[in-house]
């Protein structure tokens, strides 16, 4: 089953294709935009910029530490580098370079972590970015964007280019269905989008899990549970107001992310809920495992990242809320 199917969302092409097009758009609009590739431009689709602006495209090769350093140097010269490779290779191979040369130096550089999550599928765990959001979360100056559909990817790439300072943007090999109309996707850094209204429970998702959350909400509606669904496209700065409002107004929260539970979106939301307005919470994500090589949809099922898993978590959260009489 594909995420978005139950909610009737319209399918789309792989998100990385949208990323490539959006990157080309910002490169066309702003001659300061430069693209740095780690020999994966064909996979990340950053190569679209190479064809049109070869002079602003640099393949640094299979050398992520150097890739990040060169990008930071370009940023110091007033350019806006988009440093694009697999999320895992960038954050795991070049973490200290990202930490010093970009995060601490607070330069205007963008890291694009493609093939985030487990849905790159068959290439397996060495290539998957399942700890990327936790790692970049450890770098205080980074804005962290996780788009959930084609329109939000386009807006996110634009927002990354416009924001002055370090930005991490997660891209994906996976096709994510349309959640927003192409021309009407609200996207303000740090402001979550309410994509479905409801009073009984709130499901907060990012990336692919927003579609799955909408599916879950459709399942729950059939049982008389009305779920609010939030698209948390910005993980930092996190939309504290939207989280607290969800806790106050719906009394139960489920988070869903294509990432390890440790250090991901859910744990950061829990910190806010605990501090401001404690309510029962449940967490959908990867629990201390490395995922294996297989078809992406089979992996989502086996590792409990489907609409059914989210709906089950929501029922539990609602039960827990009722048990405390809220």
């Amino acid at each position: 089953m594909q995420p978005g199917e139950i909610a009737g969302l319209k399918p789309s092409v792989p998100l990385r294709n949208i990323f490539g097009e959006a990157l080309l758009e910002v490169a066309r609009a702003n001659p300061k935009v430069v693209v740095l590739d780690g020999d994966l431009g064909n996979s990340t689709k950053a190569e679209l910029v190479r064809y049109e602006f070869p002079e602003r495209f640099f393949n640094i090769g299979i050398a992520e530490s150097n890739l990040v350093g060169v990008g930071a140097g370009l940023a110091a010269c007033g350019f806006i580098p988009f440093i694009v490779s697999f999320s895992s290779f960038l954050l795991c191979n070049a973490y200290d370079q990202i930490r010093l040369a970009i995060a601490m130096s607070n330069v205007n550089a963008k890291i694009v972590g493609s093939h985030g999550g487990i849905t790159l599928g068959k290439d397996g765990p060495t290539q998957m970015g399942i700890e990327d959001l936790a790692l970049v979360g450890g770098l205080p100056t980074f804005v962290i964007l996780v788009p959930s559909d084609p329109a939000s990817m386009r807006r996110a790439v634009q927002a990354a280019a416009d924001h002055v300072g370090p930005v991490f943007l997660r891209s994906s090999r996976m096709a994510m269905p349309h959640i927003y109309p192409e021309d009407a996707c609200p996207f303000e850094i740090g402001k979550a989008n309410i994509v479905r209204e409801g009073d009984d429970v709130t499901i907060i998702g990012c990336g692919l899990m927003v579609s799955a959350a909408l599916d879950a909400a459709a399942l729950l509606a059939g049982e008389g549970i009305e779920a609010r669904v939030l698209d948390m496209h910005t993980l930092r700065p996190l939309d504290v107001d939207a989280v607290v409002a969800a806790a106050r107004e719906t009394g139960a929260i489920v988070t869903a992310e294509e990432h390890l539970l440790q250090g991901g979106m859910g744990s950061n939301i829990a910190r806010i809920v605990a501090a401001h307005h404690p309510v029962p919470m449940r967490f959908v994500g990867l629990a201390d495992v490395y995922v294996e090589s297989a078809d992406p949809y089979r992996l989502l099922e086996k590792y409990h990242l489907t609409a059914y898993d989210i709906a089950r978590a929501a029922r539990e959260a609602v039960e827990a809320r009722r048990a405390v009489g809220a």
Binding site: L40, N66, K122, D123, G124, T126, S293, A294
Partner: protein, 279 residues
């Protein structure tokens, strides 16, 4: 004497043909994987396991005295699995589980998941350092095994390779033998266009390594040279093996964009004919 040697090489070529076919079938069935990167090094890895170079016991994969083979260019996992199956580490039927759900035959090798897989690789640049560690460990344990590490040429762009190269020379790791699959291509294009490596042999020499070069598809060149490298003393050595990415299948050889792409069943049929014809 001459006759038995000729016969030996003939059976090695036959083994290589079978392994190429297995790589083809595995990746076509999985509808993903890196056949072109695997084809490139078939003769190299076949020579190690079947040409009398590597000391191993397939039924005792953790035999302390075994020579180590580390597949640093982990995306050539299909080649590694096919060779290990033919060497008797596990049943050949396991090969058809590549990249399937609930299977240990991972898209990139994971240490401990299949017998004979010595290292977790797939993020490029890491295998040579592991090799240095195995050498130092062998010394401490009083064991005299050798360590062979297969590197990609694009992989040599990674800084860690040169950190490892420096340390291997520093430790005079003469039981460490690297083999470079010099197929002149990385993922997005020719190495010379994307991120040039030449003068490559000079780089290794200047890092304190003994360097030999060979035709990486010719057993009669690879095997004597590797035997010579086994005799080198006081420094690590590397065989720069000149290869063709996609070797054995003309239309894969001709198009670097086959990197990381399986053949369709129709393409695979054509490929099978070509591999059989050359074998």
């Amino acid at each position: 004497m001459k006759d038995t040697v000729t016969l030996d090489y003939r059976s090695l070529r036959e083994k290589a043909r079978q392994i190429r076919l297995d790589i083809l079938d595995m990746t076509t069935k999985a509808a993903s994987g890196h056949p072109s990167s695997s084809f490139s090094a078939v003769e190299i890895v076949t020579a190690l396991y079947f040409g009398g170079l590597l000391r191993y016991r397939p039924h005792q994969p953790d035999w302390p005295e075994r020579d180590r083979f580390i597949m640093s260019k982990g995306h050539a996992a299909p080649l590694l699995y096919a060779v290990l199956a033919h060497a008797g580490y596990f049943d050949r039927s396991e090969l058809w589980r590549l990249r399937q759900l609930d299977s240990p035959v991972q898209g990139h090798p994971i240490q401990g998941m299949m017998p004979g897989v010595e290292a977790t690789t797939g993020s490029l640049g890491q295998g040579l350092s592991l090799g240095v560690g195995h050498i130092l460990g062998g010394r401490l344990n009083g064991l005299d095994y050798r360590v062979y590490v297969l590197l990609g040429d694009g992989e040599c762009q990674a800084g860690q390779i040169w950190e490892a190269a420096m340390s291997a020379a520093h430790f005079r790791a003469d039981r460490l033998i690297a083999i470079l699959d010099y197929n002149k291509y990385q993922e997005t294009g020719p190495i010379s266009r994307e991120m040039a490596l030449e003068p490559l042999a000079d780089k290794w020499r200047s890092f304190g390594w003994h360097v030999e070069e060979a035709d990486g598809h010719d057993f009669e060149d690879i095997i004597p040279r590797l035997k010579a490298l086994q005799q080198v003393e006081g420094q690590p050595s590397i065989l720069i093996a000149h290869t063709v990415k996609g070797k054995g299948v003309s239309f894969v050889e001709a198009d670097y964009r086959f990197h990381g792409r399986a053949l369709t069943p129709e393409q695979a049929e054509k490929a099978r004919e070509e591999i059989n014809a050359t074998g």
